[in-house]
Subunit: 150 residues, 2 copies
């Protein structure tokens, strides 16, 4: 999955990503980085609306899991089960979200469980920041993959 392919997929399937003007910056099996400009995501304090930050992190986390499953040639539907975010400081410009597996060592167990039971859960984390600034928010999401029926 290339950044352009992921971005096209998001725009086609999740129109909010287009309203947010999300761009895919980097996509591989280790990490997915998405970015969005301030303007369509601004709030009354001229900083990034918390809901936009949550949405960008969710898209990045979902994108990472999608990319990894594609690279393993697994077909699975992905459902988010829970998420949490900690906001440490405001984002006041173009912002980024970088998603990674919470525990890369759990990946093979996740695939085994998915094969064996047709369903498995995994945690993805994301960090959010603003250009040239330190981390501003942290996201954690638990996703359930359910093997797609043929």
């Amino acid at each position: 999955v290339s950044p352009d392919q992921l971005q096209e997929y998001l725009y086609a399937q999740i129109p909010l990503s287009q309203a947010m003007a999300v761009r895919a910056v980097a996509v591989d099996v280790e990490t997915v980085v998405l970015t969005a400009p301030l303007q369509p995501n601004i709030n009354h304090q001229r900083t990034v609306f918390g809901g936009s930050a949550c949405a960008l992190a969710t898209l990045a986390a979902w994108g990472l899991l999608y990319t990894r499953l594609q690279s393993e040639q697994k077909r699975a539907d992905l459902v988010i089960q829970r998420n949490s975010m900690e906001f440490e400081r405001p984002l006041a410009g173009r912002f980024f979200a970088r998603a990674e597996l919470d525990d890369p060592q759990r990946w093979s167990q996740f695939l085994d469980t998915l094969d064996r039971r047709g369903k498995a859960r995994i945690r993805i984390v994301a960090r959010l920041w603003q250009e040239e600034r330190e981390i501003a928010a942290r996201f954690s999401g638990d996703f359930v993959a359910v093997q797609a029926r043929r």
Copy 2:
């Protein structure tokens, strides 16, 4: 604050609320109910994108705190500090978020602390559901109010 006033304020200040086609259904000091249609918030599974659900809940929670502070004639900037969401079942149509104080008895203590220290924290919860269906997701957010400088 009437539903129309809250909706106008959201559309003017938080453009994502307009992209999501959010409408304010009920606004008082006890509860704020917002709704949004599926189409601008859809995902690849034809259900509500988790980021949209998170954004609607955040708007409802923020709207409740804003309404309560207005009714007390307090001017404060509101910042979200953390949030979490549990997704129990998919939302597959027009969806709603109802925000309430997590613990109404803490309100007077919150106002006291805001007056005394110029800053106070409070938790707002929201339930999400789809028309004529049971609760599909639960949100909890901690907001910090910071007294606005005159």
